[in-house]
């Protein structure tokens, strides 16, 4: 069930939206910010609040790369797979992250600390190869650098 706060934040969006539907991406992001992802039940409730069918809202939610429809770890890691990162050795960095965490892209570590996601060019090409953990950009990365960052992130996970 949507929390009172989530419902209120969505209502606030609706106040200055041109149409209820035009607030749908922000409404999904509001839910995601508070619980890490958008569950089926939450999606249905958001759809009802916006006066949309849940099928239509689902077609929009799944269209965007960063609306998560499955539970995420406490930290979400995006290793950039953009061309500038690829050409500067990003593939090796990505493989190293996978080895260190023992998971493949799309998976979450057993302790629930990290979810690893592939990412399209994140627009930090001057810091390639790069990754983003939650909202922090790291780069240019070496394998040692990755180890240090992951240890640090795990200690406050």
């Amino acid at each position: 069930m949507l929390s009172e706060t989530e419902r209120q934040l969505i209502d606030d969006e609706l106040k200055h939206a041109f149409t209820a539907q035009s607030a749908c991406v922000e409404a999904l992001l509001i839910v995601q910010r508070s619980r890490g992802y958008v569950s089926d039940e939450a999606l249905e409730e958001v759809a009802a609040q916006l006066g949309m069918s849940s099928a239509e809202l689902e077609s929009i939610a799944t269209f965007y790369n960063l609306i998560f429809r499955r539970p995420m770890g406490r930290h979400v890691i995006h290793v950039c797979d953009g061309i500038s990162c690829w050409v500067t050795g990003g593939k090796r960095v990505g493989e190293h992250v996978q080895e260190r965490l023992g998971i493949r892209p799309g998976e979450t570590t057993q302790d629930g600390a990290f979810t690893l996601l592939p990412a399209d060019c994140m627009g930090v090409c001057d810091r390639a190869p790069a990754m983003i953990i939650d909202r922090t950009v790291y780069g240019p990365l070496s394998e040692e650098e990755v180890d240090r960052i992951l240890d640090e992130a795990r200690s406050d996970a």
Partner: protein
């Protein structure tokens, strides 16, 4: 020629955003104030037309002309919209992030000028997902501008009112296509729409709408303030202005620089970006982002503007270059891009939805050493089949550009993979 860097010279050296006070101290909001006091909307359109400002998002359409193609307000009473396209997801492109993070008020002032020119009632700033910092700074700047009365009702005490809305997106390349972006703002599944009708006639919520790139809009206050002759004089070629150029790849100093339009590729890569890293040499460059054709050694002295880059066989695009060095595999390079475009296809038209994944699979097969000469032929054949006029929008033709030029300049590398049955770089 005038040596000036109007878009970036006021920015702080520490990379923080200019506050409203700092921006005003550097001359900010002077153009918008003067414009609202002294000018008519048509005069602003004329200034920008005379300046010859071309869209900085990639397509290079004349901004003033785009504005003049909106339905006249008198014929179509009701809301009208301006949209700043900050959905910067072109691979290898990061220039709009720099402008939004470093000087968000410049964008807002540009939007006030552009909105007034097209008599917009409401404006939107659309910013991509991963630009957390840019999103936060732009939101803060919007709040500052509202608090001072620079947005909202009767801006600067004039008769003109403008509401500015913020939209944070959730990650999909196709949203950068202007009609898909309009669908996204309506809360619909963001697939491109057929044109005509063009957005200037029927755009957001069916109303006259102009979509301009962030960098394009940032230029507008400077044109209003200094005039079209000044703007043209900033350039080394016939196409006016400065441009944010970028370089990424195996170079010594990857980054962004505001340089005169017409700066050569050689100067940008070998002076501003410091040249190639030791042990690497230059093989090729995508001059304007991931969806542009490779240029090679022989093109290094080409002045970077829309016309000259097109003559050289590529596109000016976003002018953020991605360098291919001699130790990176061209097949893998193009494969990485093709995979991106295949994933980002909205799925609306068949050549893009089915064709791009197929080309990506072929490229990776060749890259693994499992491809044949026939596979290379199939790749070549499809560069003309998945092309402008055969697809719904420009996404798939954009995906073809690096491939077709790689087949021209690096054909031997493809053949080597087939003959040696492995990637020579692995």
């Amino acid at each position: 020629m005038i040596e000036a860097r109007p878009l970036t010279e006021a920015m702080r050296p520490d990379g923080l955003a200019l506050s409203l006070e700092e921006y005003e101290k550097a001359g900010g909001y002077r153009a918008a104030r003067k414009m609202l006091k002294e000018m008519a909307p048509e005069e602003v359109v004329s200034l920008v037309k005379d300046a010859g400002l071309m869209g900085r998002g990639g397509a290079g359409f004349l901004t003033g002309l785009k504005w003049s193609l909106t339905s006249p307000a008198g014929e179509s009473p009701g809301p009208r919209f301006l949209i700043a396209n900050g959905d910067e997801m072109e691979p290898g492109t990061f220039k709009d992030r720099y402008l939004m993070e470093g000087n968000p008020h410049q964008l807002i002032e540009g939007m006030i000028c552009a909105a007034f020119a097209i008599r917009a009632t409401d404006a939107f700033i659309f910013i991509r997902d991963h630009y957390f910092e840019a999103q936060e700074r732009v939101r803060r700047a919007i709040a500052e501008a509202y608090a001072k009365g620079y947005l909202g009702k009767r801006i600067f005490g004039s008769d003109y009112s403008l509401e500015l809305h913020f939209h944070g997106s959730a990650g999909r390349y196709i949203c950068g296509e202007e009609t898909a972006l309009i669908s996204a703002l309506e809360g619909a599944r963001p697939v491109p729409r057929s044109k005509p009708p063009f957005p200037g006639v029927a755009g957001l919520f069916g109303r006259p709408t102009v979509v301009n790139n962030v960098e394009t809009l940032c230029n507008v206050p400077h044109i209003v303030e200094n005039g079209p002759v000044w703007f043209r004089d900033l350039s080394r070629t016939a196409q006016g202005g400065t441009k944010i150029f970028g370089v990424s790849g195996r170079v010594k100093k990857p980054g962004l620089w505001e340089l005169p339009m017409g700066t050569t590729i050689r100067e940008t890569i070998f002076e501003h970006a410091g040249g190639m890293l030791d042990g690497y040499s230059f093989r090729g460059v995508l001059p304007g982002g991931g969806s542009t054709d490779f240029l090679v050694e022989q093109h290094l002295d080409t002045p970077m503007d829309y016309e000259n880059i097109q003559k050289a066989g590529s596109r000016f695009g976003t002018a953020t270059m991605i360098v291919l060095d001699d130790r990176a595999c061209p097949v893998g390079f193009v494969g990485n891009l093709m995979k991106f475009f295949a994933q980002q296809s909205c799925g609306w038209c068949t050549p893009c939805r089915e064709g791009l994944p197929w080309l990506a699979r072929l490229l990776f097969r060749i890259d693994r050493g499992e491809g044949s000469e026939e596979d290379i032929e199939i790749l070549a054949e499809h560069t003309s089949k998945i092309w402008i006029g055969k697809t719904y929008c420009a996404l798939a033709p954009g995906a073809i550009e690096p491939l077709q030029s790689a087949l021209t300049y690096f054909r031997d590398d493809f053949t080597q993979h087939v003959q040696q049955k492995r990637c020579p770089w692995s």
